[in-house]
Symmetry: C2
């Protein structure tokens, strides 16, 4: 068989349900025709196509070839009824069009595609989503997928909490949830690394863009963990972070832009000489706003982000880079193991490393003034 085929093992065996299954789609080809074409009995064909034992490799290849030649593709609906398997994984994510999520999906899809699984995409509304209103129907999801990747979703949300009661494996990306496998970076260490870099350049008055006012961070802890790393590293250096330099930004370019203007417009408050932005997109917005105010980056203001966004090098942006696509790949493999493995596995959390990338948006305090 030269093409990967989504329903790899569980296929129709000619039971009544399977017959019903093929009817609405009008396929004239059934297991009997495959049996006739391959020269094996229908029972053998059924076993071969379902990947059951007792069929030699050469027989399996011959049956699959005959099925492919005839254009016989078992109905996924019938397969799902018989096996309880859908050969589909779901991804729950807030925004497909935000870089982080699209990169994770890309990595996961690579692994799922190679394993013959389809991918169902479930958007989830977040408190700051202007569209609002779309709520995950977790019971409906549970019947459509064999497992689920949950990407930085607000698991405090009751409709998502119920995902955990579905008895299908759920793997999180970006946030750890008690009892679930997950892939993430150590965000406190991310915050420490970015802050350490700015401190080493001589900066003392450092702002944090990404503060959580509860409305922008959508209930997940990425921003608060990075903020804590910032505060801990400052205190380790004998400095007390100035509360007036904590700015809400969400994770967006717009948010970074607005935060920069705010932090430079506080009457009687000395502006920062450096900014630790919770994401590269926030950093990009801050750079844009700084330049629009006539500030030189890094002459007047150093800015560091987090992510290693595909476009960060175009801004010469210093960043704490995380392997985003790899996190999608690893999460997909964790999910596959849970679904195809011999039995339930204890949840495992994979923490992937990050890397400080020094570029041109951060520089020594005061040098270019």
């Amino acid at each position: 068989m030269s093409e990967p085929e989504p329903p790899a093992s569980p296929v129709t065996n000619g039971s009544p349900a399977a017959e019903i299954g093929s009817l609405p789609l009008g396929s004239p080809i059934g297991i009997v025709e495959v049996a006739a074409a391959s020269g094996f009995s229908p029972a053998t064909v059924s076993r071969a196509l379902r990947g059951l034992p007792g069929v030699s490799a050469s027989t399996r290849v011959a049956v699959e070839k005959a099925a492919a030649t005839l254009g016989y593709f078992p109905s996924p609906s019938a397969s799902a009824l018989i096996t309880g398997r859908t050969n589909t994984f779901g991804i729950v994510a807030p925004w497909v069009s935000r870089w982080f999520f699209s990169a994770v999906i890309d990595g996961a899809q690579e692994v799922f595609g190679a394993a013959g699984y389809d991918l169902l995409l479930y958007p989830v509304a977040t408190p700051s989503d202007p569209r609002g209103g779309y709520v995950i129907n977790s019971r409906a999801i549970g019947k459509r997928v064999d497992g689920l990747l949950a990407l930085n979703v607000p698991l405090m949300d009751s409709s998502l909490h119920s995902l955990q009661t579905l008895h299908i494996p759920v793997v999180t990306v970006g946030t750890a949830v008690q009892g679930l496998s997950g892939v993430l970076v150590d965000n406190e260490q991310v915050g420490r690394a970015a802050t350490r870099h700015l401190l080493a350049l001589g900066h003392r008055r450092i702002a944090f863009f990404g503060d959580d006012d509860g409305s922008h961070t959508d209930g997940f802890t990425v921003a608060t963990d990075r903020a804590r790393g910032f505060e801990l590293e400052m205190r380790d250096a004998g400095l007390e972070p100035d509360p007036q330099l904590f700015q809400v930004s969400g994770f967006s370019i717009d948010g970074g832009e607005a935060a920069l203007h705010r932090v430079f417009s506080q009457p009687g408050v000395a502006p920062p000489t450096a900014i630790f932005a919770v994401s590269d997109e926030v950093a990009m917005g801050a750079i844009y706003a700084a330049r629009s105010r006539g500030l030189s980056v890094p002459g007047d203001l150093s800015i560091i982000g987090v992510d290693g966004h595909d476009l960060s090098y175009l801004f010469d942006l210093s960043t704490v880079a995380q392997p985003v696509k790899d996190q999608g790949r690893i999460a997909a493999r964790l999910l596959l193991e849970q679904v195809t493995g011999p039995g339930p596995r204890p949840p495992s959390v994979v923490s992937v490393g990050t890397e400080l990338i020094r570029r041109g948006t951060t520089g020594p305090l005061g040098v270019a003034r």
Copy 2:
């Protein structure tokens, strides 16, 4: 019913197939329990949940409420067997993580989600895809979805050509395919608009980044249509485009970067004073490379892109903007109409307008030299 529910009308009616369907998931709740809880007969409950006529609105609401309270969600697999409908649309796209595609998906998902449809994501390998090898199994897709959006896919590919024989509606985005509905921009006009802008600024030696050598444009005509618009507009101005200023770039940042270096490294060839880049990402790469060569943009070199990329304003990039997310929304509506409408409709092609956005990367010839 307070939550949108993917299988809106076709649900189980308690047939043998439906019973089989609910078994693997272990739900003890069936149509009989919903009947008992709501006080209606199983036959009425079945009709109500399937959205069949002969049931009053108040009865339907009461039955749906009882079903929701009991946690009774019909099996999509069983529904699909009974109705032939999957309540799912598929999207075939080359890269989820490229901005254009993720923005189209975002727009489409908004419409599909509101209509209660799920979205299956099918990646498709392209000639320039380094991963290679993953080929669409169109027969398998045909049994899983009620319709398909095809995003700038190489429809010359035989495995995709077969999509047209599936007897499910297919709507294209970005390219027109004979016999299919589609949403697109007039790319020849896009090429003319960008070129006209550069000509009006006094430029005569204009390069085109996005030339098609057959390996980077992945078989779709977007780049060649924009190139033709460029050539036609040049000739209308009495200029013959210089073949040495046509550079292959694909649609990527990397491609734009490499093209810029090439066009400025040709021995004995005068470099361009302006570049028309086939996409904003190509333009971003060209700007980055130009600055790395010490060239001022727009002082030494004007650069215009196409797309209206979310990040284009951060580069102060002049561009011919297209409403990308809207194209996803419109395509989704076309597909919904075809699936839910009273009968087959003739294919319709929607051409959406574009807008020249003048920003700082294009300027008058020679002014800043």
